[in-house]
């Protein structure tokens, strides 16, 4: 690492030396300043050199893109999406990439070869072609058609993703704050109780409003985001201080967490981490064993933004149900707190504890 730094400094030193040399040369040239002779050829050798460099650049650029893109593919491209809609997003992405890469190559063949082909020649004239309406129309319409095709495909995926969540979706509340996430499940009734930010305190971190909504009493919280495999999940996303953004890269899920404006995103997880590991082993990914789903923050939220993450796991449906049923409600764990706050509607089974 330091070696690279030293190398960098070394190269810089060389650049500097070259510069100093140049200074002396320029001073020499400047001493006999004279108007250039109009009869001289307009360009020197450099014109040809520059035009050839464009071609060299073309090959170096595309060779490195391909070489790196293929050799390190495993390392950089996320495993196949672990959600249903993610597969569609990936398809769209690669479709768009294919189209744009094609345009990239074609335009750059022209752009980087024309300099050599049409480099300045003293006894040649450029062809006077001020405009061509057919061409203009062609390259207005063709991109328009291609873009329409892309946008319509994209739109169908977008409207699928943003459709209302299915009735049977599991609701999970994800709340961001500086610099962690809180996850709350609806408990037995599956309903997430109402909250009020004025009720937030160091114990009741998400501000459950027990008096306003009794469905809060069976809600429970957990220190990682657990998802059931194969069942739609609706994330109800909010923030209690600044903007955050829920990002589940392996599920192709992203939605901002906005204080004062709850947002949501629904998706269906399709693979457990074990499933993904198996896939990765099959393609000999060296990092297969370390694979772990994560929830990251993607909206700048302060100094520790980069460290605001949470573990995510996907459980088989029955396993998930077993865990879900076994979790004790938050209220049951914090009866003293509820009493201390003089909350009136504490259910009798809790109050007697």
């Amino acid at each position: 690492m330091n070696g690279l730094l030293i190398a960098a400094v070394g190269v810089l030193f060389l650049v500097l030396m070259a510069l100093i040399y140049r200074v002396f040369m320029l001073v020499r040239v400047a001493k006999d300043t004279k108007e250039p002779n109009a009869k001289d050829s307009r360009v020197g050798m450099s014109n040809k050199v520059n035009s050839i460099l464009f071609i060299v650049f073309f090959f170096v650029l595309f060779a490195s893109i391909f070489a790196y893109g293929f050799s390190e593919k495993v390392k950089y491209i996320l495993p196949e999406s672990s959600s249903i809609h993610g597969i569609e997003i990936d398809f769209l992405f690669w479709l768009t990439t294919a189209v744009t890469f094609f345009v990239f190559i074609i335009t750059h063949i022209l752009l980087f070869f024309f300099p050599y082909v049409y480099r300045y020649k003293e006894h040649k004239r450029a062809t006077f072609i001020p405009h061509n309406n057919q061409l203009e129309i062609a390259w207005t319409i063709v991109p328009a058609i291609v873009l329409t095709a892309l946008v319509v495909t994209g739109w169908t995926v977008w409207s699928d993703i943003t459709d209302p969540a299915p009735e049977d979706a599991l609701h999970i509340e994800v709340m961001g704050h500086q610099f962690a996430w809180k996850v709350r499940y609806g408990g037995k009734d599956g309903k997430i109780g109402k909250f009020n930010y004025m009720k937030i305190d160091p114990t009741n971190q998400v501000g459950m409003d027990f008096e306003a909504d009794e469905s809060n009493y069976d809600d429970f919280m957990y220190n990682e985001l657990r998802l059931p495999k194969g069942r739609p999940v609706l994330l109800k996303i909010r923030s209690r201080d600044v903007l955050h953004s829920v990002f589940l890269p392996h599920f192709r899920v992203k939605m901002d967490a906005v204080p004062g404006m709850p947002t949501q995103f629904w998706f269906t997880p399709t693979k457990t981490a074990e499933d993904v590991k198996k896939e990765l082993r099959e393609i000999n990914d060296p990092n297969a064993e370390a694979f772990q789903y994560k929830l990251a923050c993607t909206e700048i939220c302060g100094g520790s933004h980069f460290a605001m993450f949470m573990n995510v796991s996907v459980l088989e449906a029955d396993e998930f149900q077993k865990w879900y049923d076994s979790e004790e409600a938050w209220a049951a764990k914090n009866v003293d707190y509820l009493k201390e706050k003089k909350i009136k509607n504490i259910p009798s089974n809790l109050a007697s504890n």
Partner: protein
């Protein structure tokens, strides 16, 4: 032109002030343009320098940065690590400085000021005084921003987009205290500067064109500057209003953007505001801003490419139409920055469609540039190289815009390095290349001397390779999902694999940064010691090359030339030379006139005779009067 009129004109325009009025509080557009240019170069060095510091952090997270202590002081801790809050401050300041101070003020401020009067044939701007104010408001904005770098709590650090509540609450991060207040004050002054400049550019282009300089004979540079000024005039006030509301929220207890917040152990009383409202206001400027920095660069490259291809710009009218199309559309695409903010998905759909429409005029421009090169006779001046580089960056960055404009794909890519790669290529680097092309091309006019071409070649190739080496790999990192504005990627497993690529990017960034000093050296050295420039070094058609080597106040000695033709008569069949400047009448070039131009030539002759007759008559009247 008789000697007497020459003398009169000279007398009219040459004001002999003292040092202060000539070089500091000057109202001459050329001096003001240079002031903008020098200030922008100063800011560019700071802005790019900041990026090198945070690239060190990203590329070499374990490196000991103690050697930066003399510059950064307490922001480097005892173990030689960069402070994580200050990392965000650097990112924020880098964005703010580059977008506003370098690419907005540096491009529009320098080249609109310099070229509008010279290319349309005007003695100066419509209001020299306002123009001077425009620079000094910018300078004041710069002083405040510069000062904010040195305060105890550090400069603003919530990202250049300053989204509240982060930017509104000093509890949220230290940079949101005094640093943010200074940021807002500085930006308020900056917006005033931009508006003063913009009004001037617009009124000058509309009112002060010389005889014959109709709108369809304007060089594309002027079209670009003109439309840019219009966009700026319509969008900057919206940023001003957003900043003002944010100031109210910060200092006067209002709740425009704040609601339901519990922070630092207390629930704030603010209710009913919308943090998303700010984003709408911000991006209503923010998106047009992309074109405010890009269009002048495209205008400059149009001129440079046509001149050095020795060929008319292909599709002059299509170019104008696409500039206007881009300008109009730029106002109705802003919410594509907000697909995942929880905005109504239907709104997302609308903005997705509108955004992809804007790709069409952009594509038209790219194709027109490439076709201009086709069958040309290309001279590779440094300016030409940078313009070709610009097209390449414009295309590669524009293409990834198609990914990001598609709302569904944006779910995954939003706020990742893919976005960073996209806008640094299409907006950052492309505009920067435009600015450099402009400097190389008009340096002989600005300072009467030539820049060294060989150093220019070196500068271009290192920068071009550098820019690709820095930003292209970011696509890979982005596709893997690595988020922006992360101080470190090692804390986070799925993103922990990028060390090699980040190291590569950082090394490229450092080398490219130092290569810029070759340019700075060339610039300063040539200003004093460069070879004296010939009158028209690039054999260009536009009016600025008809002025003296060192144009004085008033630009032309004697009468302002009249314009007879469009600015792109390069390599016209039949013509003696491979260029015919705009001030040459058709009647003087019968050998190269097209049929309709032949008619214009006859018309010119009639007009000329008419003019002589009127002159003679008035002469007679005056004589008679004198006799009486």
């Amino acid at each position: 032109m008789s000697d007497t009129t020459h003398h009169d004109d000279h007398h009219d325009h040459e004001h002999h002030g003292n040092f202060w009025t000539n070089y500091i509080f000057s109202t001459d557009h050329k001096v003001i343009a240079k002031q903008f240019l020098f200030t922008a170069i100063f800011w560019a060095m700071i802005g790019v320098g900041m990026s090198v510091i945070f690239r060190l952090q990203l590329g070499f997270p374990d490196a000991d940065l103690s050697f930066l202590k003399p510059i950064l002081g307490k922001w480097i801790d005892a173990t030689g690590k960069l402070d994580k809050e200050f990392y965000l401050a650097l990112v924020t300041m880098h964005g703010t400085i580059m977008v506003f101070f370098v690419l907005t003020a540096g491009l529009s401020g320098t080249f609109s000021n310099y070229l509008i009067p010279l290319q349309i044939g005007a003695v100066d701007m419509a209001s020299g005084f306002m123009n001077m104010l425009s620079y000094w408001f910018f300078a004041a904005a710069g002083v405040i921003m510069f000062y904010s770098l040195f305060i105890e709590t550090g400069p603003a650090s919530g990202g250049w987009v300053i989204y509240p509540p982060l930017s509104a609450l000093p509890q949220a991060m230290p940079g949101s205290g005094l640093g943010m207040t200074l940021w807002l004050s500085s930006m308020a002054l900056f917006i005033i500067s931009t508006l003063l400049g913009g009004i001037n550019y617009i009124s000058t282009v509309i009112n002060m064109r010389t005889r014959g300089m109709s709108f369809n004979r304007l060089p594309l540079t002027i079209w670009a500057f003109f439309i840019t000024a219009v966009i700026g005039l319509l969008s900057f006030p919206v940023l001003f209003s957003a900043a003002l509301l944010l100031i109210f929220d910060r200092s006067f207890g209002t709740s425009f953007f704040l609601s339901d917040i519990y922070i630092g152990g207390e629930a704030l009383p603010n209710q009913g505001g919308s943090a998303i409202l700010f984003q709408h206001l911000f991006w209503f400027l923010g998106h047009p801003e992309v074109y405010i920095v890009l269009l002048p660069a495209l205008g400059i490259s149009s001129e440079v490419i046509a001149t050095n291809s020795r060929k008319p710009i292909f599709g002059y009218h299509a170019m104008i139409l696409s500039i206007i199309g881009i300008a109009v559309l730029s106002f109705i695409v802003w919410a594509h920055h907000m697909f995942v903010t929880g905005m109504d998905p239907f709104l997302g759909t609308i903005f997705m469609f509108l955004t992809l429409i804007i790709a069409v005029p952009s594509a038209v421009k790219a194709f027109n540039y490439i076709t201009t090169l086709w069958k040309g006779n290309l001279v590779f001046t440094p300016a030409m190289l940078f313009s070709i580089g610009l097209i390449s960056l414009f295309i590669v960055g524009g293409l990834t815009g198609i990914h990001l404009a598609s709302a569904a794909i944006d779910i995954q890519l939003h706020d990742t390095y893919f976005v960073v790669a996209h806008f640094h290529l299409v907006m950052g680097s492309a505009s920067f290349f435009g600015m450099l092309a402009g400097i190389y091309h008009w340096f002989p006019k600005m300072f009467g001397r030539m820049m060294d071409a060989k150093m220019g070649y070196f500068h271009f190739w290192t920068t071009f390779i550098g820019v690709y080496a820095i930003f292209f790999p970011m696509h890979f990192i982005g596709v893997a999902g690595f988020p922006r504005r992360y101080y470190s990627h090692t804390a986070f497993e799925p993103f922990g694999l990028f060390t090699d690529l980040n190291m590569f990017i950082s090394t490229a960034a450092i080398l490219t940064f130092f290569a810029q000093f070759v340019f700075v050296f060339n610039f300063v050295y040539s200003m004093f010691k460069g070879r004296l420039a010939p009158a028209n070094p690039w054999k260009s058609n536009t009016l600025e090359w008809t002025t003296p080597r060192f144009p004085g106040h008033g630009n032309w000695v004697g009468a302002i030339p009249q314009v007879f033709r469009w600015p792109y008569d390069y390599s016209k069949p039949g013509a003696k030379d491979d260029f015919i400047p705009q001030h040459i009448p058709y009647s003087e070039t019968p050998e190269s006139n097209l049929p309709f131009e032949q008619k214009l030539a006859e018309f010119e002759k009639q007009e000329q005779q008419e003019g002589i007759r009127i002159q003679k008559e008035s002469q007679i009247t005056t004589d008679n009067n004198e006799n009486v």
